[in-house]
């Protein structure tokens, strides 16, 4: 004769067994957790990538400046010399150099095509300035340049940098907000699923209460079940999301803005935190729902 006491089942396992298996609806929780985690991986990738992008732009653009010289042809060389002389005596500048015609042509080539007669066009002269640490005083330099070379214009990229960095920060905020919303939606759905399961099993709960089960015992059976489902679903979702992100085309220098979506270095570990996080969300959502529902059921 087979008896339950003879079976090597731990109390926790038996707590799971007292609630009948719930059949196909159980997959809905797993599926929901999976889908939510999948989306979460992309939201995470988006915020990490935009954070990186904001840093890259800020750094790359902050350390360099460009002086643009537009002057009548006969004045160009004289003013260029004046600018170079000014820069040489300005503290806080690591290096500077005037771009020659070949470099200017290379810069313009993507827009105008090869074989551009640079000499024939009134193209401004460009002087690249790399700032030192501590940096130069840009307002002071601007004034000195205005005195020495009236056609020179210092562009330290702030005009570009600020809106781009702001946009990147905003995207990051949206990413974080999405993650919070996804987490909240998952908690809500698991709560509903748990309440439905508790309502379906009202009869079972009544029997358990009658034979002296505490609320915590009954809740445990449900909480374990939903936590495990959420964990399984989230693990599958996170794996799928990671594969999806890994399968994105690699970021190259030219397309860095668009294809930089993804994880780098330690960033790959972030999505691994999602399944335990989903399990924690499920644990507390189910626990709360269970104790609430149990109080209604005498």
């Amino acid at each position: 004769m087979k008896l339950p006491a003879a079976k090597p089942a731990s109390p926790a396992t038996r707590a799971l067994q007292v609630v009948p298996p719930s059949g196909p609806t159980a997959w809905l929780t797993t599926f929901t957790a999976g889908a939510m985690t999948f989306l979460c991986v992309f939201a995470l990738a988006l915020s990490l990538a935009s954070g990186r992008l904001a840093n890259r732009w800020s750094e790359a653009l902050a350390r360099t400046a460009t002086i643009r010289l537009s002057a009548p042809a006969e004045q160009v060389q004289i003013q260029t010399d004046a600018i170079l002389a000014t820069l040489a005596t300005t503290p806080g500048i690591a290096s500077f150099r005037a771009l020659d015609d070949a470099e200017t042509r290379a810069l313009l080539e993507p827009w105008f095509g090869p074989g551009l007669p640079v000499e024939a066009l009134p193209i401004p002269r460009l002087i690249q300035v790399v700032e030192a640490d501590p940096p130069y005083d840009s307002e002071g330099l601007r004034q000195r340049l205005a005195a020495e070379a009236p056609g020179a214009l210092l562009d330290d990229h702030t005009r570009w940098r600020r809106p781009l960095a702001e946009a990147a920060a905003r995207i990051r905020l949206l990413g974080v907000l999405s993650i919070a919303l996804i987490g909240g939606a998952m908690a809500a759905m698991i709560t509903l699923a748990a309440r439905a399961a508790l309502a379906t099993n009202a009869e079972v709960i009544h029997v358990l209460r009658l034979v002296g089960a505490k609320d915590s015992y009954i809740a445990r059976a449900f909480v374990r079940r939903f936590t495990l489902r959420a964990l399984t679903g989230a693990a599958i979702g996170a794996a799928a999301g990671l594969i999806g992100v890994a399968a994105l085309p690699a970021a190259d220098a030219a397309g860095g803005f668009l294809t930089g979506l993804g994880f780098t270095g330690w960033g790959w570990l972030w999505p691994l935190a999602l399944p335990p996080l989903a399990a924690i969300v499920a644990f507390f959502a189910t626990r709360r729902a269970a104790f609430q529902k149990l109080r209604e059921l005498t």
């Binding site: 004769m1 087979k2 008896l3 339950p4 006491a5 003879a6 109390p11 038996r14 707590a15 067994q17 007292v18 009948p20 298996p21 009869e203 079972v204 009544h206 029997v207 358990l208 209460r209 009658l210 034979v211 002296g212 089960a213 505490k214 609320d215 915590s216 015992y217 149990l294 109080r295 005498t298």
Partner: protein, 225 residues
């Protein structure tokens, strides 16, 4: 110590008072029947006695504790000292009979000894059905299984609500015999029934007392039946 005591207890549903001014004490080791017409409040009385319902006025004491002061966990702990048998016994249909009988142990994270379980199954004559699922059992088998489940944790009190309601006379006598045996072992027994033959049969074996619900009050009936 009294096992169960009611002091001026009243219970009313939305529509009016079902029980009123009920005062009585069940001493340890006593055997009581509770009788009265259908709808008179027998089940309500029992539910008050195992803290499923709380009195609308007056005081119900279980093992000298006021039920209105019991937390939900206290109620659970108190019920481990009370074995409850219903007319429509409820089981967990996905678990075997043996697992259902062990349920009071399972929910308190305790182990039932296989020997006790086997003895108990033998006592109620269900040894051959240990691995059966509850829906496969007949009415009489379910009643005996419910009784076995009620006594497995060795409770101080057995409350039975129409335990012979769904079974034939022969099975009724068998269940009565089991209840009488439990009483002889020192358990306090309270059986709600409208079956007067069963009460007469019991009185032939033990000094059972009869409580009768009449016009919302619970009275101790005399020797006449």
């Amino acid at each position: 110590m009294t096992v169960i005591s009611f002091e001026n207890v009243a219970y009313s549903y939305g529509g009016g008072e079902l029980l009123t001014d009920v005062s009585l004490k069940l001493a340890p080791g006593s055997f009581h029947f509770l009788t009265g017409p259908s709808g008179a409040g027998k089940s309500t009385f029992l539910k008050l006695a195992y803290a499923e319902l709380r009195p609308t006025s007056g005081r119900v004491m279980l093992f000298d504790n006021d039920v209105t002061r019991l937390s939900r966990d206290d109620v659970a702990r108190t019920r481990r000292r009370i074995g409850i048998v219903h007319q429509d016994c409820k089981f967990l249909d996905h678990m075997t009979l043996a697992a259902n009988m062990a349920l009071p142990f399972t929910v308190s994270d305790r182990e039932s000894s296989p020997q006790d379980m086997e003895d108990l199954l033998g006592w109620v004559g269900l040894k051959h059905l240990a691995d059966a699922l509850p829906p496969q059992l007949s009415g009489g088998e379910r009643q005996r299984a419910a009784l076995a489940r009620a006594v497995i944790v060795d409770p101080d009190v057995i409350l039975a609500d129409e335990p012979t309601g769904n079974v034939d006379w022969e099975m009724s006598l068998r269940i009565l015999t089991l209840l009488v045996e439990l009483n002889k072992m020192g358990k306090t027994i309270l059986v709600a029934t409208h079956d007067l033959n069963l009460i007469r049969q019991a009185k032939a074996q033990i000094p059972a007392r009869v409580l009768r619900i009449r016009s919302h009050r619970v009275q101790l009936a005399g020797a006449d039946l």
